[in-house]
């Protein structure tokens, strides 16, 4: 099914993207604010969604916010912040059942207005956010940052990227740093949010049913007059290995986590980028991949081993959970598999299978309203006008020579191993 995106400019730096579809039983609105990923702002940015969720001008307390959502037929509100390349993106999403299913055709206007309350009318007290809320959320953010170690796999991946990109903004942790929290208070945080509202590019996505009246309502609800919109520079990427290091870290764990970071130097704008996606898929995409077949199926070394391309930075990360004494062996097999890729030792079937896997995941995007909004946002962030179908076409056009060419641009940069010194 083709999905099309009608993009309307509704204010300086504010675009409304409309995706009409009958497929879902709900309507979904997502509003994204883009900010640069900067070391000095990151912690404040990360605190914003936590504080905004606590209360608005109209619904002063979280209790009121939550009860209002329940009245909106279980409307689901989610706010978060994510690193997308060297952008820090604030997301507000609300989703609730279509009027037909709850016998209330008009209530979605109220849902839109409620989202506006959360985004534009936070609870302000004495010229700042409510102090109590900010203090509590500072503590919660501190716990989130410290909680980085709880999921060992994602911790190891984060650490590898931190080490690998230590001289680049991309190494900045998306939830910020505990030591910054001392300098944040309810007033300076509110000032910071005002400047975000004033300067950030905003993309709004509406996925569901609508008519002209609804479009007008959304336009009027979200348009604001603004002057200077921040231009966020495109990430610098490099094929030159930056650190070339081996990092070991100890933790009291039962399974070692190996993460290897590679530079490819192939930007997403490059014609070869699509071949990079295919080659990473051949290497460590699914259960058919070279790494899965060797490291897991042949050698029984791991339960999971994966390879993934990070679009905005053009890096590739391979990660696996292995026994501590299998570090050298896993590394060697991985090295051999990449060498094989470079030498063209893979079958035409491998290429076809990799392409199909990518095509299936592209097609599946249209089955989830949330993924549709994430997909179009990613297109906006990368100035890419291609439709899903055009992207599929591009993937299908990748050939063996392209794959070998990109494989030869993959260079190992950082090897990270989380281990247990006592085992």
């Amino acid at each position: 099914m083709a999905i099309s995106n009608e993009r309307l400019n509704i204010g300086n730096g504010i675009n409304l993207n409309l995706i009409k579809t009958d497929k879902f039983k709900s309507n979904l609105v997502s509003l994204y604010m883009e900010m640069p990923l900067n070391r000095d702002m990151v912690t404040q940015n990360a605190l914003i969604p936590l504080v905004l969720k606590r209360g608005t001008n109209k619904y002063n307390t979280t209790l009121e916010v939550e009860r209002k959502l329940e009245e909106l037929y279980g409307g689901q509100l989610s706010l978060n912040i994510n690193k997308k390349g060297e952008r820090h993106v604030l997301r507000f999403t609300i989703e609730s059942p279509k009027g037909f299913y709850v016998d209330d055709e008009e209530y979605f206007y109220e849902v839109i207005s409620f989202l506006k309350e959360i985004v534009y009318n936070p609870y302000v007290d004495d010229g700042g956010f409510k102090k109590e809320y900010v203090d509590q959320e500072k503590e919660n953010l501190k716990r989130m940052i410290e909680g980085k170690i709880n999921d060992k796999r994602s911790y190891a991946m984060t650490r590898c990227i931190e080490e690998m990109c230590k001289n680049e903004k991309y190494s900045i942790y998306e939830y910020g740093y505990v030591k910054d929290l001392d300098f944040i208070d309810n007033k300076n945080l509110y000032e910071h949010y005002k400047s975000i509202l004033e300067n950030s590019p905003i993309e709004i996505f509406y996925i569901g049913n609508y008519d002209n009246k609804m479009i007008d309502h959304i336009k009027n609800t979200f348009k604001i007059d603004r002057e200077n919109i921040t231009k966020i520079p495109r990430e610098k990427i490099t094929d030159a290995v930056q650190t070339k290091n081996m990092v070991y870290e100890d933790m009291q764990i039962n399974q070692g986590k190996l993460v290897i970071g590679y530079r490819t130097g192939i930007p997403y704008e490059d014609n070869l980028y699509k071949a990079l996606l295919v080659s990473s898929e051949i290497l460590g995409g699914g259960p058919n991949s070279k790494l899965f077949r060797t490291v897991r199926e042949k050698e029984s070394l791991a339960y999971y081993i994966n390879s993934k391309i990070y679009k905005y930075k053009s890096i590739m990360i391979i990660d696996a959970g292995i026994d501590f004494d299998k570090f050298e062996k896993t590394l060697e097999i991985t090295r051999n598999q990449i060498d094989e890729l470079k030498e063209g030792i893979f079958t035409d079937d491998d290429i076809e299978i990799a392409k199909k896997a990518i095509v299936t995941s592209l097609k599946s995007v249209t089955d989830s309203n949330y993924l549709i909004s994430e997909f179009f946002l990613s297109q906006v962030l990368s100035n890419d006008n291609r439709s899903v179908d055009e992207m599929i076409e591009d993937i299908l056009n990748v050939n063996r020579e392209d794959i070998i060419e990109v494989a030869n641009k993959i260079n190992v940069d950082t090897i990270y191993f989380l281990k247990n010194e006592n085992l």
Binding site: V102, E146, Y303, I353, K356
Partner: protein, 429 residues
């Protein structure tokens, strides 16, 4: 041949049903306009079914812990082809999972659905175990077990189960232990397979933009033909489980930034099936949301005091022969959270629950479930789970019509008591 169509106008969905010659029940929920097509082939056999009478025998046997999960891994093995490759060639991604009560094999794809379906039926119905391939799997599963050993959320949950249950197999880890899986060999795998993978003990569920006629054709032509049809019901043996919990408190140390906890309330109103079981589950979940959800005063109080964070919440799970509510979260003072919960429950015992809260939560639940029907994965996983509880998930929302505030009150008094809970805590090393 038995064919029928069920409809639910409330959620605007249909369900096609057909029973094949071997006794396999096949259900299809059409989703027009969806690109993704999803199929699950599941057996009512999970980690809880560790003691049973093997098919064609008289004596019960007890098998090593983790065997249902081990079997799930090994079914992907075929004599002369790699099953992952076959699915990959058709652009499908194939997977499987084992839980306490079922093992499910599934794939999702956008193209070549019927070819993939044929593959799914054939590989699940064709076990191929050798000494060598069984040995090889032990290393892989050992790594899977170790991965979970480092997961504080998983550990705190299983510790809570071992605190609540004396004997019931739900307290043992689904994958078993590195030691228990060593005892597994191909003979015992075949015994389990032959007993539990009979079509009569299985269900095939499909969801997506799929033709029912085609499905019937594929099932008829692909399913195994030389299957003995007059088989007896499987006898599963569960140990006697006392109503009381085993231990009040369990603590372990792992790498975590903050202590995490689960309070488990053990259910002793057991033996329900079908709609009654589902009704009890919904009532209990509404109650948990009323008591501990984000829109409760209790949640907001503890949150403001920094005793809990957004991870706090509760959930009830109920099966035919066991059930429990869990209330989970992270806190620097789990013991204080428990104390507050106790005081709070005592207050409610004296003052009662609020009917407005009940209505609000009930409506919210209905809305959330309607939205769930956007996702083929949500539909499929729930369908399988409820099917083995003798309930058609299509009618899930209708159960809400039969639930009243009185049901919630009754349930509260019986289930949230002072003597039936375990506190499990994982503290930082």
């Amino acid at each position: 041949m038995d064919k029928s169509i069920f409809k639910n106008n409330k959620i605007n969905e249909e369900l096609f049903f057909y029973e094949s010659e071997s006794g396999l029940k096949v259900y299809l929920m059409p989703k027009s306009g969806y690109m993704k097509k999803y199929a699950v082939f599941a057996t009512q056999y999970g980690s809880n079914d560790n003691k049973f009478i093997p098919i064609g025998e008289k004596e019960a046997i007890e098998v090593p812990e983790g065997i249902a999960h081990f079997l799930e891994h090994k079914l992907f093995e075929e004599p002369d082809e790699n099953i992952f490759d076959k699915f990959s060639e058709f652009g499908a991604s194939v997977n499987a999972y084992t839980n306490f009560n079922q093992t499910a094999y599934l794939f999702s794809c956008t193209d070549n659905f019927y070819e993939n379906l044929e593959l799914l039926i054939k590989f699940v119905q064709n076990p191929y175990f050798t000494d060598e391939n069984v040995e090889k799997e032990k290393g892989i599963i050992a790594q899977e077990i170790k991965m979970y050993e480092d997961n504080p959320g998983w550990k705190v949950f299983f510790n809570c189960l071992t605190g609540m249950y004396h004997n019931h197999p739900v307290k043992t880890d689904i994958a078993g232990t590195v030691e228990s899986i060593r005892k597994i060999d191909k003979e015992i795998l075949y015994t389990c397979y032959n007993t539990f993978y009979h079509p009569k003990n299985m269900v095939l569920f499909l969801v997506g933009d799929i033709s029912f006629e085609e499905v019937v054709k594929v099932v008829d032509s692909s399913e195994k033909k030389d299957i003995k049809l007059d088989v007896e019901e499987i006898t599963r043996i569960y140990p006697e489980e006392p109503k009381e919990i085993k231990e009040k408190y369990i603590e372990e140390k792992l790498v975590t930034s903050i202590p995490i906890f689960i309070i488990g309330f053990k259910d002793d109103e057991l033996g329900l099936e079908g709609k009654e079981l589902v009704k009890r589950e919904i009532v209990t979940n509404i109650l948990l949301e009323m008591l501990f959800g984000k829109s409760s005063k209790f949640y907001q109080e503890l949150y403001s005091e920094g005793l809990i964070d957004a991870s706090f919440g509760g959930q009830y799970v109920g099966h035919k022969n066991y059930g429990h509510s869990i209330v989970a979260g992270q806190s620097y003072k789990p013991e204080v959270v428990l104390e507050r919960i106790n005081t709070y429950l005592e207050e409610i015992r004296n003052e009662g629950l609020n009917e407005e809260d009940f209505e609000r939560i009930k409506n919210k639940d209905i809305g959330s479930n309607i939205m769930g029907f956007n996702s083929v994965e949500f539909i499929a996983n729930n369908f399988i789970n409820y099917f083995f509880l003798d309930f058609l998930f299509l009618d899930y929302l209708d159960v809400y019509d039969s639930i009243s505030f009185e049901d919630a009150l009754n349930r509260f008094n019986k289930h949230y008591r002072k003597d039936n809970y375990t506190l499990s805590v994982i503290k930082p090393v």
